[in-house]
Amino acid sequence: MTNTQRTLGAAAVIPIVAVALVVIFPNQQAFLAQIAITALLVLSLDLVVGFAGLATLGHAAMYGAGAYAAALYSLHVWAEPLTGLVVGILAGGLVALVSALMLMRAHGLTFLMMTVAITQIIYEIVNKSRAVTGGDDGLYGIMMQPLFGRFEFDFYGRLAFWYAAVVLWLVFLLLRHIAASPFGLTARAVRDDGGRVSSLGGGIFAHRVALYTLSGGIAGLAGALSAQTVQVVGLNTLSVTYSAEILVMLVMGGTGRLWGALLGALVFMMIHHYAAEVDPVRWMLFIGAMLVMIVLFLPKGLFGGLEAAVNRLREGART
């Protein structure tokens, strides 16, 4: 395969899967929209965990910031969706930038604890600012104007799904491009050995801040999509618990490859949806067991496992 073929092939995956999901689950588009938004969020998390090599329990802070900002914007300023997405990106990016200035000199456990602390602080601020944020009631009654002034958001989430899927697709293509760029290569180098990059004259602090801010912007975008399509924003979007949940999705799918983020979100959300229907209490047990199996037997996650299996089949076909 040439590079161009590979790029085109990769670009086709999300549209094909999107169409397939709509065909298989025709009456579940609101749920499918949730999957696409979650996948976008997990994708942004992969920048921090996979590309920067930093384990975080605070990623929801940027997601929640984007969600609240987009909700407030649509309630009080303008209910136009696309500018709302920009507001979400800016809010998530700003929260990321400010926290990165504190976070990015820390490592390991210190870093992890600081992500938790920052997220808790933001959570409490939003909780206490009841007049603006609705406190623990959250924000509701978000009514978006038609997309491009033409397409109405329908009750069944049909538009919501395609809207979220297209955004996910574009961001995925962008991130694949960035991953292969000088910026992306430097990010991997900083993760592998930051001191070595310094010895070559690279500024690792600024680079980490930039990467974290990019990631926060995308998380904010996902938050805005969620606010616009679910039409409700609650405190849970900002929580450490939710941060942990998306980290589980990423680890299940596999870190550092972008594909793993997509696969992890899809599988987790499907299990959540169907297992919770069967047993609303013990479905987490199933997720937990699955996570243990993956960590033990598929260190590169579901995507890594899938890739290894495909390679083995190819080898087999050749001989």
Partner: protein, 248 residues
């Protein structure tokens, strides 16, 4: 000729342990200076102090006549002061070509580029190819560095430094761990370094030292024990007794 690098009265202590004692040294363009001394003499520490990995407890480091003692390792690298590591430090998730690209990206200030277009990207590819050819690593271009033989990893470590087009290059035991069969590639690479480059190299292998060095500094217990031409050092009874004797 003016000195590129000048070290004045440099000292370093870790707690109560003094590992660098009032070291003076100079490197001019074209210099080939060997730094030798027994294990634990403080050779690597001296390179760490000069490159900015460690802060000295006393003394100054000057580059082109101006003090850089307060500058970070990164800023010194930008001024052309580049070092390699005694124990190879490569980017373990990368291929050989990507490892070299990372160095070239830092060198050319392209860290915040989100694409590969343009003239500077071509320059990067050219310099990567040149170093791959010089070090005879063309066949290894797309191999993961972590899967290379250690000797080849040492070559990549040297390649990373070369791609930075340094003005002062400090090599910390470039041939350590390289099998005899491959060490000539390292030697050729050192031999073919740009003439105007100032080189300080740490080496235990006396054949290498006497082949390349035009000046030798003997470091003992963190201090300069003596310095001289290879002939002078070879004739020095104290050095022979203490160091060369021990090494042979």
């Amino acid at each position: 000729m003016n000195n590129l690098l000048e070290v004045r009265n440099l000292s370093k202590s870790f707690g109560g342990l003094q590992v660098t004692r009032n070291v003076d040294l100079t490197i001019a363009p074209g210099d080939r200076v060997a730094l030798i001394g027994p294990n634990g003499a403080g050779k690597t520490t001296l390179v760490n102090l000069i490159s900015g990995v460690l802060d000295p407890t006393g003394g100054e480091v000057m580059l082109d006549g101006s003090k850089v003692t307060a500058l970070s390792q990164r800023q010194r690298a930008h001024r052309g002061l580049i070092r390699t590591f005694q124990i190879t430090r490569l980017f373990h998730s990368m291929t050989v070509a990507d490892t070299l690209r990372v160095a070239a990206i830092q060198k050319n200030g392209m860290t915040y580029r989100f694409g590969w277009g343009g003239r500077s990207a071509d320059l990067i590819e050219k310099s990567v190819e040149r170093v791959l050819t010089d070090l005879r690593l063309q066949d290894r271009r797309d191999n993961d560095v972590s899967l290379l033989a250690y000797g080849e990893q040492r070559l990549v470590e040297l390649g990373v430094a070369l791609i930075m087009e340094p003005r002062v290059l400090m090599l910390d035991e470039p041939a350590a761990g390289v099998p005899q069969s491959e060490s000539h590639i390292i030697m050729d690479a050192i031999e073919n370094l740009p003439a105007e480059l100032g080189v300080l190299f740490i080496e235990h292998d006396m054949d290498l030292v006497f082949r390349f060095a035009r000046r030798i500094i003997v470091l003992v217990s963190g201090g300069v024990f003596c310095t001289g031409t290879p002939d002078e050092i070879a004739a020095n009874e104290d050095v022979r007794a203490m160091y060369l004797g021990e090494a042979s």
